[in-house]
């Protein structure tokens, strides 16, 4: 109550200053009048009475001031005064203000942009109580794998720590057809997720239209063909038609009933692959034709597990229970669940297998842009220092008139905060632009990635914090420095500095050293990533990507029998082969460097010493068509390429890579050897050729053992005579000719396809290169500015030197000597910092170590050259000083 009255009263006096102050005046005047009248009753003259009252009761003005400053709103008022005065001062030097604001906006802007990207990766999912969600992986000793359906059912049946435990597949391609209003039959490729009946319940998400699955709709295989569609699909395909509920759509040729529409932007947080629809787990056989065996096979690990912990259970308790359950699951199924383990991670930790690396890279970027912001800060601090020298007379006058040092410091810091806040506001705009630009270069994937990098409240708080912190950082030191209580000297000295204090120079020198050190660090890190990209582009992929085209039609989604799809693929191959300009065409089930693989299996070598299955090495394999290696431009080291007979014949053959041969048949010719895949009961596969080891999963991988089995596969690889783009239309037309109902999945050049593998080295080289150049430019501008200022300060001294006969060489060396020393010191510091930092980034580099001497050397040379240039220009001007002018300068 009292607080409220205080507040209301204060606000009243703030808003109606004049009236409140008049009231106080009247009251005090009345007080004095009454006192004077009382005195005059004793027969004194009015003048004497007035004087006596003032003596006894204190002066009216002092009383007024005392009453005013006892109010809290007085503080608000002084801050407001500071603010207005600061604005006035900044308006007086618009050049300075603009330079400072732009520099800060750039620094704060890129910091905000990178932070919002990092924030998008690590922020919690937009579901109720996201911190109670956990992910469960099967795996032991730090490895995490997806889970098989039977294991999930066991786990859900016995785990007590979860209120819900759900599974869902990765997005899978499906063909959606038969829903046009015009009646024309079309089909398009969509991405669907197969999820357990309690999936939406576990996440706590309900449909915006219709409903989601009920758990009992996911009990019997193939029984409930229901589908929940995404908001985007509803918008783009169904025009937001509310009557979509109850509609029957065809998925892979099977009729499904639409029961609900998921919320827009469902599941934001982390790097998620967005999908178009969800179908119940039990419909796996229809959603992924021919895959229904996955529901019963304990070895088919293809499911992500997400659970909601019960409110009274801690993560440690969940982990303890998981350990007990894992041991029991291993006992119950010792063969399939050999060395079985369950690892429970928080939702954030377990988001994507590559999140830890991405997150770490995000923090590295964050550190880099923070350094750029530091350089920007140092630049502005330099500007403020220079400006403070020009304001010495003003500050001196204010101090001699009784302004306290605190008041002046507060005034100068207010100016700093105004600058940095303006910089922050402008920075938000720059950030929005930067985010949009960065997201435009999304990795080329067939399905959309949802990364929600919006400027949410966390990002805005970050920007506000960064702005205030920078404002205080760059203005506090200069403020204290320039308000040293040394009034007489400040008034006397004016603009020309006579005998500048040692400490003041040290502040400036520290700025230069810091900027040089940080920009060398940035240059080295940026250089490392650029060189690493160069190395990555020269990595031997094991094939020649130029003039190669990839095309695939989703025959596996069409209601084709095995025989039909074989026929289709064979006819398509012939159609493409007959196109003019096509040199070679072959097929593969999985193009290398797609970020995944067709399959892996255990290898049995003929004549080997038998070992138990779980100790058997696993190898990756692919299924490829005739003349695959000729089409891909892969040289054969021994043996021969695959032929039509290999593909269609009854005997199985394979081509192995060098690493495979080295593992199983060291120093022997592998051609003619035999092996089995997956089980000792399977038929022998004969090795017919040997190829060099390429890259299969990622550019950074260690040499992998790899098998190329001859077999039927539907992804086409086409070697074209010229620019592959010009053949795309003809290939699409060929597919349409063969089956107009078929959705062509994709036609892309090999180089476009490789964009995915090259995405991370390219993006990191681009960003880090950009930031290091930005940092260097800012630092050099700052260095130039400071040195130009120093030269101006020393005009008088240089004039005397020239008058006494110093040559231009002497002048140059005098002016530059100090600068060179500072640059050398800064570079030493920068080198040590870069040496330490290179350990952190080494894991992200291809083909070079973090301590690449060449990069370190080049960065040093570049920085030294640019720094000398930045110093030489002002120094050069010093040599041209006319002594007559300089001496008259005072």
């Amino acid at each position: 109550m009292a607080l409220l009255r205080n507040l209301v009263d204060g606000l009243r006096s703030l808003l109606r200053t004049e009236r409140v102050s008049k009231e106080l005046d009247e009251e005090l005047d009345g007080f004095i009048e009454m006192a004077v009248e009382e005195k005059m009753k004793q027969g004194i003259s009015r003048r004497d009475a007035l004087r006596a009252v003032r003596l006894e009761r204190g002066s009216l003005e002092v009383a007024k001031e005392a009453v005013w400053s006892a109010r809290w709103e007085c503080v608000v008022d002084t801050v407001w005064q500071d603010f207005r005065f600061a604005l006035r001062m900044l308006r007086k030097s618009p050049g300075f203000a603009a330079a400072a604001i732009l520099t800060l906006a750039l620094g704060i802007g890129i910091n905000t942009a990178i932070f919002s990207l990092l924030n998008a990766l690590i922020k919690p999912l937009n579901v109720p109580e996201p911190d109670r969600l956990v992910r469960v992986f099967s795996g032991r000793f730090g490895t995490s794998y997806e889970m098989s359906y039977p294991n999930y059912v066991d786990l859900r049946g016995s785990a007590q720590s979860f209120s819900e435990l759900a599974v869902y597949s990765f997005p899978q391609p499906m063909s959606l057809g038969g829903v046009t209003h015009s009646g024309a039959a079309t089909s398009e490729r969509v991405w669907g997720i197969v999820a357990s009946g309690n999936y939406f319940e576990t996440l706590g998400i309900s449909a915006v239209l219709g409903r989601t699955f009920a758990p009992d709709e996911d009990r019997t295989p193939d029984s409930r063909p229901l589908v929940v569609i995404s908001h985007r699909l509803w918008r783009e395909r169904f025009n937001e038609d509310p009557h979509v509920i109850g509609l029957t759509v065809k998925l892979n040729g099977y009729p499904f009933e639409v029961i609900g529409v998921a919320p827009d932007r469902m599941l934001r947080g982390g790097l998620l692959l967005s999908n178009d629809l969800w179908v119940p787990m039990m419909m796996e056989g229809e959603a992924m034709p021919g895959q229904s065996f996955k529901l019963t096979n304990r070895n088919e690990t293809f499911l992500n597990v997400i659970g909601r912990m019960r409110p009274d259970v801690s993560l440690a308790q969940v982990r303890a229970e998981a350990k007990t359950l894992a041991d029991r699951m291993e006992r119950d199924h010792p063969k399939e669940n050999h060395q079985f383990g369950l690892s429970v991670l928080t939702e954030r930790e377990g988001r994507t297998p590559f999140l830890p690396g991405l997150e770490q890279f995000g923090w590295i970027l964050m550190a880099i842009v923070a350094l750029v912001l530091f350089i920007a800060c140092a630049n502005v601090a330099g500007l403020v220092l220079v400006r403070a020298l020009g304001r010495r007379r003003e500050l001196g006058i204010r101090m001699s008139l009784g302004a306290g040092r605190w008041r002046l410091v507060r005034q100068l810091v207010t100016e700093g905060i105004i600058l940095s806040t303006c910089g922050g506001l402008l920075g938000l705009g720059i950030a929005a632009l930067a985010i949009r630009t960065i997201l435009k270069f999304a990795p080329p994937l067939p399905l959309e990635i949802s990364l929600d990098a919006s400027l949410d409240h966390r990002v805005l708080m970050f920007t506000l914090g960064a702005s205030l912190a920078t404002g205080i950082l760059f203005s506090t030191l200069p403020a204290f420095r320039s308000t040293k209580p040394d009034v007489t000297r400040m008034l006397k000295a004016g603009d020309a500095v006579v005998g500048e204090s040692r400490t003041r120079m040290m502040g400036r020198d520290a700025l230069v050293v810091g900027q040089i050190a940080v920009s060398l660090l940035l240059l080295i890190v940026g250089g490392l990533f650029i060189r690493s990209l160069g190395k990555a582009q020269r990595i031997d992929l094991g094939f020649d990507p130029t003039n190669r085209l990839l095309a695939s039609a989703d025959t596996f989604l069409a209601p084709y029998s095995d025989e039909q799809s074989r026929t289709f693929d064979a006819r398509l191959l012939e159609e493409v082969r007959s196109l003019p300009g096509v040199i070679d065409v072959s097929s593969t089930a999985f193009v290398p460097l797609s970020g995944g693989y067709l399959g892996d299996g255990q290898v049995y070598i003929e004549g080997e010493f038998p070992v138990p299955d779980y100790e058997r090495p696993k190898v990756f394999y692919d299924r490829v068509g005739a003349s695959f290696f000729r089409t891909m431009g892969t040289p054969l080291l021994a043996g021969r390429d695959l032929t039509e007979r290999d593909v269609n014949g009854s005997a199985q053959v394979t081509v192995v890579n060098q690493t495979f041969a080295d593992t199983f048949w060291p120093a022997q010719n592998p051609v003619g050897k035999r092996l089995k895949l997956n089980s000792s009961d399977s038929p022998w596969i004969e090795v017919v050729g040997l190829v060099p080891t390429g890259k299969y999963l990622s550019l950074g991988e260690a040499p992998q053992r790899h098998l190329f089995l001859a077999g039927h596969s539907s992804g086409l690889v086409i070697h074209t005579a010229g620019d592959p783009h010009q053949y795309m239309q003809a290939i699409r037309a060929a597919v349409q000719r063969l089956d107009p109902n078929l959705a062509v999945a994709s036609v892309e050049t090999m180089n476009e396809h490789l964009g995915f593998a090259f995405y991370s080295p390219r993006m990191s080289a681009f960003l880090l290169g950009l930031f290091s150049v930005l940092g260097l430019s800012l630092a050099m501008l700052g260095l130039y500015g400071l040195l130009a200022f120093v030269v101006r300060q020393r005009t008088h001294e240089v004039g005397i030197r020239i008058a006494l006969g110093a040559g231009s060489h002497d002048v140059l060396s005098v002016v530059m000597r100090q600068g060179v020393l500072l640059v050398a010191l800064g570079m030493t510091l920068g080198l040590s910092a870069a040496y330490a930092a290179s350990q952190v980034v080494a894991g992200f580099l291809y083909g070079i170590s973090g301590r690449d001497l060449l990069t370190f050397g080049e960065a040093c040379l570049l920085l030294a050259f640019v720094a000398l240039l930045a110093m030489y220009m002002p120094a050069r001007r010093a040599t041209q000083i006319d002594p007559m002018v300089a001496l008259r300068y005072e």
């Binding site: 009255r5 009345g30 007080f31 009454m34 006894e56």
Partner: protein, 109 residues
Amino acid sequence: MADKPSEIVQGTLDMLILKTLALEPMHGYGITERLEQMSKGTFRVNAGSLFVALQRLQRGGMVKSEWKATENSRRAKYYILTQQGRRMLDSETREWGRQVAAIARILEA
């Protein structure tokens, strides 16, 4: 006047003002007059401290004010004790009595 007027004991001005207002509403000058009279000229309050104290009491809800005519038909701001102010005066008076007695006991010991 026997002695030179002295400053009021620190922290007691609020209580003394409330006491003067307990008798009847009064304006600022009236309050100082009455304090001087009642203390037989021992305490003299200067305008600054008085009005700062009054502002504090008013914002704390101990007194309220209204403009009225004085007996000399001059306009003045009269301060009126509120219920809350009366309670505060009672409690402060009791507390002060306790402290004075304690101090006296110490000094006499």
